[in-house]
């Protein structure tokens, strides 16, 4: 199939054409990352498919199918669903505030029957779609500097504050930064960006000292000096760095990581899976995986570059920004460069929710790619 096929309205709606336009190399990269994750989970469980490895592979398989289904879904359906998804997300966040379950000291989970999930995941997709749609019908001058900017600012602030109140600082930051990235990509004036950065930098220290919960503050302070409390909150960071450092160039060998196999590494199957990888496969393994992540980010960003619709561009770039942030925050945390926040390494870590969110996001990116020549209306007056 050629690009020209996509420019012909009749031709480009055929399923086979759409499927052929999916970035299969990108899918391959994702498979490699998720496969590495499954491999590591097998090792951590003591060379066992259960409880994690098989489940991880299976979930990923389902998510790939879902991603492909979402990829062939018309970009205008995404466009139409943008506000409803955002609205639903915010409603769920309010619901969780009122009736959510408290797990591990934070109110993050919402149960419907036996199924429970974190509404913050819905809003991660929702904020990207809603902002992309909002900016889609807005001229460059407004996006650059105008009173209108209070609308996207409010759209970001509402979910961020709700999530922060749960309290889930990591996710709140992630949503805020994703939203911020879209606003910047849409053409925000450099003056505003610069003053915002200064503002944030000025606010952080007093917030850490006065605005945080005790455990959050402890985490931040521990991060600044992990060895002050090697058995308490510094334990995670220290053990993770030991796992990393002791891996060396080529690692201790598959299944031979003493830090992870003997449970010194906390959350080894989720947030700290990268440390397990580092311990067993060393520098070479880590860099390989980082290159895979880099490739995924690059390909996703290129998709946004190719899109001819502003909605498509911003949506794809927004998802890419989220993904990048996940990788950066988790990586920095594992390497002792950031405080411990509950952000997993996407596709590598065990955990269904994040994988689902990320793969839905990638479905959106592929949809943008497949429909890069489609006309998207300004959508004025239409919510569906």
């Amino acid at each position: 199939m050629t690009v020209s096929a996509l420019t012909r309205p009749g031709e480009r709606d055929r399923l086979i054409v759409k499927l052929s336009e999916i970035d299969w190399l990108f899918v391959l990269v994702l498979c490699l990352i998720a496969g590495t994750g499954s491999l590591m989970l097998f090792s951590i469980a003591g060379s066992s498919w259960t409880p994690w490895s098989a489940a991880h592979a299976m979930r990923f398989g389902i998510c790939v199918v879902l991603m492909i289904a979402l990829a062939v879904m018309d970009i205008r359906v995404w466009f139409a669903l943008a506000y409803p998804i955002y609205g639903l997300g915010v409603l769920l966040l309010i619901a969780v505030e009122l009736v959510g379950d408290v797990r591990l000291g934070a109110q993050r989970w919402l149960s419907i029957g036996s199924f429970s999930f974190q509404p913050s995941e819905v809003i991660k997709v929702g904020i990207v779609l809603a902002l992309a749609r909002l900016y889609h019908g807005v001229p460059a001058q407004r996006a650059q500097l105008s009173w209108w900017l209070f609308i996207p600012a409010a759209m970001i602030a509402v979910p961020v504050l709700l999530v922060a109140h749960q309290p889930d600082l990591g996710t709140a930051m992630l949503i805020a930064m994703t939203g911020g990235a879209i606003v910047v990509l849409a053409g925000l004036s450099w003056k505003v960006i610069a003053s915002a950065i200064f503002g944030v930098l000025a606010v952080i220290p007093p917030y850490v000292l006065f605005g945080m919960h005790e455990y959050q503050r402890q985490r931040v302070l521990t991060f600044l000096d992990p060895e002050t409390d090697p058995s308490g909150s510094g334990y995670h960071i220290l053990q993770s760095m030991i796992a990393l450092g002791s891996g060396g160039l080529l690692g201790k060998g598959y299944g031979l990581g003493s830090q992870s196999q003997l449970n010194f590494l906390p959350e080894k199957q989720t947030d700290f899976i990268f440390a397990t990888l580092a311990e067993e496969f060393g520098f070479v393994g880590c860099v390989s995986v980082l290159i895979l992540y880099g490739a995924a980010i690059f390909m996703a960003l290129r998709t946004s570059y190719l899109s001819h619709s502003h909605f498509g561009r911003l949506a794809a770039a927004g998802v890419t920004a989220t993904f990048t942030l996940y990788v950066m925050i988790n990586g920095a945390m594992v390497m002792g460069l950031a405080p411990v926040v509950g952000v997993p390494m996407p596709m590598l870590s065990y955990g269904g929710t994040v994988m689902l969110t990320v793969m839905i996001g990638f479905g959106l990116i592929q949809s943008v790619r497949v429909h890069r020549y489609s006309e998207v209306t300004s959508g004025k007056g239409s919510f569906v």
Binding site: L262, N263, F264, F283, C286, G331, V376
Partner: protein
């Protein structure tokens, strides 16, 4: 406002800005990933060694193993305290361990009734996490192997082989050797040998009394360690033989005691309460040091039940008190040997006579002699033989307390000896200076009243001694030259401790000592106070001694004069002795608490103990067991004249009958 946003229309500012900024985002992402790569390179390529070390110290652990405790043996090498293997069953409280279900399962293999299960469950739940709780000690081999085979299914259960202290002679050595028991919180200190982490080991036992306590550090040895791989919860995953440190067993301690004499001594006390000490009066070695009644030290190792403890602590005859070292008694008439020495030292003629009419008046009070009718005219020798109180009353007024105290101290009374174990009580040897100190606050009581000399002279009054001191006194008298020191511990880890005979000479004339000894010899001869009770029955080996009957209260208030009635008001019976009379080899002291009489309660027991001691001595045994004279061989038949069988047959045939 704007028209349909078709892609053709949009080669515009928005797209341009987005493209530029998307490149910027990509650049940031690239920089971020590069930074991560750099950080990884720093940690994994340059800091590897440091983190490898940390990782190893996480992974491997050394688990302490207590060393086998040193063995304690008697002077001939007979074992008095040893270790035996103990198969223990331990249950640990940890994640994923259902203690209740585990105990139920274990009840299939070892006897654990419901009551015990409930108590153990409480113990397990109150124990710190991962600290093993002993569910069963001393399992049989069958039980141990049954559990070991099923160990993989039984989470949190371990069966291990430890060592437990055993005292094969039960009670006879309980006071001298003491016992070991679990370490208490108070035993652990922050510094010094008791800060050793081995004290926290569940199998470790610490010496709590006697030799076990005094030589605890020597007996402990050096603990070893097992190199094990552990997980983050400290659970053992694998064992690495090559990294093990083998423990160094504790030092062997040899005592001077003799197991047979010691056992015999406890036996002869029977129901009575008291102490017996036998010393070698040439070397100072303590051959026997028995306190009765005793207790089984093995029970203390296992841990006493509260009923057992109450039984021991509440018994009137105080089984846990060491009556040889910690019990103080008035020496009674056994002290007359010291008074006699003081009389001789004062220059009084031993032939000077005192007439005894059953007592004497002094200071408005009548001091009785133990013989109501009196002994008649007595010199020193007769006074010792008959234990005439009147003679000593009378002479004490000429001697004074300071001379008596001087003699008593020279012979070891009022002294604490370095025998290696704690618990000795000094007692009191009074004199003028002592009284002044003692009544420092009460000036009226400070002067020494002449009347006090009288009771002092017969071993009463303020005077208090322990059984070991009496034995030392007798041993020094029997030795005659050296101020012998007692020795209980012969060697520690093969290194011999100094002998008791490495001591200065006694500051008394040999002639005076011999006179006292002659008196003691007369005590056990016909007519002496202990004639009947002290016949050894060992041929020409005889025992010399001195009886003593010490009153524990003032008889003036009436009552049965200490010869009956309530147990704790009866007189103490004492006897000091040495044998053989001609060449003293062993000296001893026996105190029978509230035994009523020295000649009736103490002397017969002393005789039995002395017999055993003498018979254990090969030299003396040779003297006792004389070989039977060989009968003279008289060759009455010439061998050549024996008729050979054929000749007999011939004779029979000649006689005309069958052979």
């Amino acid at each position: 406002m704007t028209g349909p946003a078709i892609f053709f229309e949009e080669v515009n500012e928005r797209q341009g800005v987005f493209h530029r900024r998307a490149i910027l985002l990509g650049t940031f992402a690239g920089l971020g990933l590069t930074a991560m790569g750099g950080r990884l390179a720093y940690l994994q390529l340059f800091q590897t060694q440091r983190y490898e070390r940390l990782s190893t110290s996480n992974q491997f652990n050394f688990k302490l193993m207590p060393a086998p405790r040193g063995v304690i043996v008697d002077r001939n090498g007979a074992v008095l305290a040893a270790n035996r293997p103990n198969f223990r069953l331990l249950v640990v409280r940890d994640k994923g361990v259902d203690a209740e279900a585990t105990l139920k399962t274990l009840a299939n293999y070892v006897p654990l009734d419901d009551v015990r299960q409930r108590r153990l469950l409480k113990d397990i739940n109150s124990a710190p996490r991962r600290a093993p709780v002993s569910v069963m000690e001393d399992m049989s081999w069958e039980q141990f192997s049954a559990i070991s085979v099923r160990a993989p299914e039984l989470v949190g259960v371990t069966a291990d082989m430890g060592e437990v202290r055993v005292y094969p002679h039960g009670g006879a050595f309980a006071h001298v050797i003491g016992y070991v028991a679990k370490v208490n919180r108070e035993d652990i200190s922050l510094t010094g040998p008791n800060a050793d982490p081995i004290l926290l080991h569940p199998g470790f036992r610490m010496g709590k009394q006697g030799v076990e306590k005094a030589f605890d550090l020597e007996l402990r040895g050096r603990p070893g360690a097992r190199k094990v791989e552990v997980d983050a919860n400290g659970r053992e995953v694998r064992h690495h033989d090559e990294g093990d440190i083998t423990p160094e067993p504790g030092a062997e301690i040899q005592l001077t005691l003799d197991v047979d004499v010691q056992n015999r001594a406890l036996e002869v006390f029977g129901e009575e309460s008291g102490g017996a000490v036998v010393m070698d009066c040439r070397t100072g070695d303590i051959i026997c040091m028995t306190s009765a009644p005793s207790f089984d030290a093995n029970r203390f190792v296992r841990g006493l039940t509260s009923a057992e403890y109450r039984g021991l602590a509440g018994f009137e005859r105080k089984p846990m008190l060491d009556k040889c070292l910690s019990g103080l008694y008035p020496p009674g008439s056994t002290f007359k040997t010291m008074t006699a020495l003081a009389i001789l030292e004062a220059g009084i003629d031993p032939e000077a006579r005192v007439s005894c009419g059953g007592g004497m008046n002094f200071g408005g009070r009548y001091f009785h002699c133990h013989k109501k009718g009196g002994h008649g005219s007595q010199n020193l020798h007769e006074a010792i033989k008959n234990s005439c109180d009147t003679y000593f009353y009378s002479m004490s007024l000429r001697v004074g307390p300071d001379r008596i105290a001087q003699a008593a101290r020279a012979f070891g009374l009022g002294q604490i000896f370095d025998i290696g174990i704690p618990g000795q009580k000094r007692g009191i040897v009074p004199d003028r200076a002592w009284k002044k100190r003692y009544f420092a606050k009460n000036v009226d009581q400070q002067p020494w009243w002449p009347g006090e000399n009288l009771s002092y002279a017969i071993g009463q009054g303020y005077l208090q001694v322990n059984c070991l001191q009496l034995a030392v006194m007798t041993a020094r008298l029997a030795n005659g030259v050296k101020a012998l020191n007692p020795r209980l511990v012969r060697s520690v880890g093969g290194k011999e401790l100094p002998k008791g005979s490495e001591a200065p000479d006694l500051p008394f004339l040999r002639e005076h000592i011999d006179r006292v000894r002659a008196g003691m010899g007369a005590v056990t001869e016909a007519g002496g106070t202990a004639f009947r009770a002290s016949q050894l029955g060992l041929g020409d080996i005889l025992m010399a001694g001195k009886t003593g009957t010490a009153q524990v209260r003032n008889y003036d208030k009436g009552g049965s004069r200490g010869k009956g009635g309530v147990w704790h008001l009866r007189d103490h019976g004492l006897f000091v002795a040495y044998a053989p009379v001609d060449a003293p080899r062993y000296a001893m002291a026996v105190i029978v608490q509230h035994g009523m009489g020295g000649s009736t309660a103490a002397a017969p027991r002393a005789r039995e103990i002395m017999r055993t001691t003498l018979l254990k001595d090969p030299e003396l045994r040779a003297r006792i067991v004389k070989p039977l004279p060989m009968p003279e061989i008289v060759p009455d038949i010439e061998l050549d004249n024996i008729p050979n069988p054929t000749t007999i047959e011939r004779i029979a045939a000649a006689a005309g009958g069958p052979a």
